[in-house]
């Protein structure tokens, strides 16, 4: 069990691969910031290496990846592997995109506890991150 942190939740959002669909991730970015979290966004075409480097440099507690091009298996898994190699497996991984069920099962095993299909209410994502990263505060309804 990692230590219980306080203060604003720090999150890195990233678009790995060549996919240009960023409507979803930009909505999540806005919702997390509106909820009081500190969010860094890599922009398009971030490599898994760059994503992990940014996550460590920014000392984030969670990484959210988005891919709607069908390349999620390759990129999401690679980020998980690089993170483990860097000894940072305590960072919470979540992802969004058009992810078929069989892939979702595989990615959950690879550490992606939270996977969101298009159409997920923004509040649900905010709520999940709070209850995982600030369980005590989440119960009291604080950011």
């Amino acid at each position: 069990m990692p230590e219980q942190k306080s203060g604003p939740i720090r999150v890195l959002l990233a678009k790995p691969g060549l996919d240009g669909h960023d409507r979803g991730i930009r909505l999540v970015l806005r919702a997390l910031r509106d909820a009081g979290m500190e969010v860094i966004y890599t922009g398009l075409r971030a490599t898994p290496e760059a994503i992990v480097k940014a996550a460590l440099a920014e000392d984030v507690e969670a990484i959210g990846l988005s891919s709607l091009s069908g390349a999620h298996r390759e990129h999401f898994r690679r980020v998980g592997e690089l993170l483990a190699a860097a000894g940072a497996s305590d960072i919470l991984l979540f992802g969004g995109g058009i992810i078929p069920k069989s892939d979702a099962d595989e990615l959950r095993e690879a550490g992606y506890a939270l996977l969101y299909p298009p159409g997920t209410p923004l509040d649900a994502i905010v709520g999940d991150l709070r209850s995982r990263l600030r369980p005590a505060a989440a119960e009291e309804g604080k950011p």
């Binding site: 060549l18 409507r23 806005r30 922009g43």
Partner: protein, 545 residues
């Protein structure tokens, strides 16, 4: 006879239009039938309403660009398709043509769109995922095997590397002994909306636009039946804009394209005749119909007022429409057939020249063959069974539709004026103004959906999402890597190196890229090598947050 029905409403017919516009057009080009009537035998006139407003085929084309529209020719049914490999996509093309599709539309994978070969490190995991991979002229040859290039029109959704794919198509025509002047089709080649909404840009804005104008210039000179640009609002809408923003940002993009062509010294009369547009057909039925009408009128006005284009035909906004992908739901996907039907009907009543209807399973994966067939059949039902093709602009004259048309035009015009005030389209793209507007609209939409106010039918929290019906075999990527390695080994290394050097020289000299690109693809230089050579001269665009 019931006296309340009365005689035909002769005084309310557009007599002048019928006589001076419709009759001569019909003379030149026969309609599909000698006479159109309802199931009850009521004769159908080509147009209803009085002569007060300009009719179809008359500037500013609010009611349509042709005098008899679908009475003479049904729109082109053009389903966007591509996946896995050139050979597999070729099978889908043949399937669609066999089912009555009337034009082809190629979806390329992301590496091809951005300029990476299938064996590039950047392509890892992306080969054949969202479209077909094309790295070489041979790939394009396989993709279009058995397709008569001089008879089937081919639309290619390609932007950053549009000049390369156009070069390949010309080279392929030559290889097959077809005069490239016979080539018909469209290359999207609209790089500005990539920076706004779609994200496949490779080079910085200015050289990207330069390459786009190269393709336009080349086509005007050498490919008289080819449309070298499709100015696209579709992706702007998918990124979350409103209908008004879709019109304004698309036409602002078109203004920037005409300005770039004028700066190159191209005759705008010719550019206008060879430019086309691409819009979304989204959910709000009447707003969508009015949107297409307003866009036509506003573009015609812009061409006349801003660019002083004298040739009225060059001021016509002709467009392809695609139903709104973002409106589809993963839960209860069969309902998407209904959504697509309503959206497609809006495009038809709005006067589209060509149409793509989405497949019901596209919220889950690329379309399966069965779903792709239903999508095409949807267009055929509208065209052949609904009767909406028998009268031109049947909603025109409705006070509601006319007022919506006026309102969309006025608001889009105001937004374009705001962009002008910010230094024009390119400046408004680079400052992030356009992106921020789209993002704000997307956020509003999401809030309305989340609150339940605009929740789609058949979607519930935690509801069942079916398994994806269509998967791409990852072995395709491995296979292509090996095949490309062999291709590079087998080619004439000296000839391909010389052809590549010529591309670099032409780019440095600021010459039109097309002739050297055609020479290079004929010498087996790959798309990735060409994009890298162009990037070495023009620089790489670094996408950022």
């Amino acid at each position: 006879m019931d006296p309340s029905i009365g005689p035909p409403r002769a005084g309310r017919r557009p007599e002048r239009w019928l006589r001076s516009v419709h009759a001569p057009a019909r003379e030149r080009h026969a309609e599909r039938q000698d006479r159109f009537e309802t199931t009850s035998g009521i004769p159908l006139e080509p147009l209803y309403g009085e002569d007060a407003a300009p009719g179809p085929g008359e500037f500013p084309f609010t009611r349509g660009i042709h005098p008899s529209m679908y009475r003479s020719r049904i729109w082109t049914m053009r389903q966007y398709a591509g996946y896995s490999s050139p050979a597999e996509t070729n099978l889908r093309f043949r399937f669609l043509l066999a089912k009555g599709q009337t034009g082809l539309s190629v979806a390329f994978d992301l590496p091809t769109q951005i300029g990476y070969d299938s064996d590039a490190p950047e392509a890892r995991g992306e080969v054949g995922r969202v479209g077909v991979p094309i790295s070489t002229l041979d790939d394009l040859d396989h993709l279009l095997e058995g397709i008569p290039l001089d008879r089937v029109s081919i639309s290619m959704t390609i932007n950053a590397t549009a000049a390369v794919l156009l070069a390949m198509l010309v080279a392929l025509a030559r290889r097959r002994g077809i005069d490239p002047r016979e080539l018909r089709g469209t290359v999207q080649n609209d790089i500005l909306k990539e920076f706004i909404a779609r994200g496949t840009q490779r080079f910085p804005v200015a050289p990207s636009l330069g390459l786009s104008v190269d393709a336009i210039e080349y086509a005007l000179r050498e490919l008289p039946s080819f449309y070298p640009i499709s100015i696209s609002g579709y992706h702007i809408r998918e990124a979350g804009s409103t209908a008004v923003e879709e019109v304004a940002f698309t036409l602002a993009d078109g203004i920037a394209v005409l300005e770039a062509c004028r700066a190159r010294g191209l005759p705008l009369e010719k550019v206008g005749r060879r430019a086309s547009f691409f819009f979304n057909a989204h959910n709000h039925f009447f707003e969508e119909v009015a949107k297409f009408r307003a866009a036509r009128r506003l573009w015609a006005t812009i061409c006349r007022e801003r660019f002083a284009i004298a040739d009225l035909e060059a001021c016509q906004l002709r467009f392809h429409a695609q139903t709104g992908g973002s409106t589809l739901t993963a839960q209860e996907p069969a309902n998407n057939v209904v959504r697509v039907t309503i959206q497609a009907l809006a495009a038809v009543l709005g006067g589209a020249q060509s149409l793509h209807t989405n497949s019901a399973d596209e919220a889950l994966s690329l379309p399966s063959e069965a779903a792709a067939q239903v999508a095409l059949r949807t267009q055929q039902v509208i065209a052949r069974e609904s009767g909406v093709t028998d009268v031109v602009d049947p909603l025109g004259g409705s006070p509601f539709v006319e007022e919506l048309t006026d309102e969309i035009e006025a608001r889009a015009r105001a937004l374009i004026a705001e962009i002008d005030g910010r230094g024009g389209t390119v400046a408004a793209i680079e400052s992030g103004f356009i992106r921020r507007r789209i993002e704000t609209s997307a956020y509003r939409t999401q809030v309305a959906i989340d609150s339940g106010e605009a929740a789609p039918v058949g979607v519930t929290a935690g509801g069942e999402i079916p398994e994806s019906p269509f998967r791409i075999d990852p072995a395709v990527e491995t296979g292509r890597r090996a095949a490309l390695a062999e291709f590079r080994r087998a080619r004439d290394a000296k000839a391909s190196a010389a052809a590549l050097a010529e591309v670099t020289r032409a780019a440095r000299a600021g010459e039109n890229a097309l002739p050297s690109l055609i020479g290079a693809v004929e010498a087996d230089v790959t798309l990735g090598e060409l994009a890298a050579a162009l990037a070495a001269v023009h620089g790489e665009h670094r996408p950022d947050a």
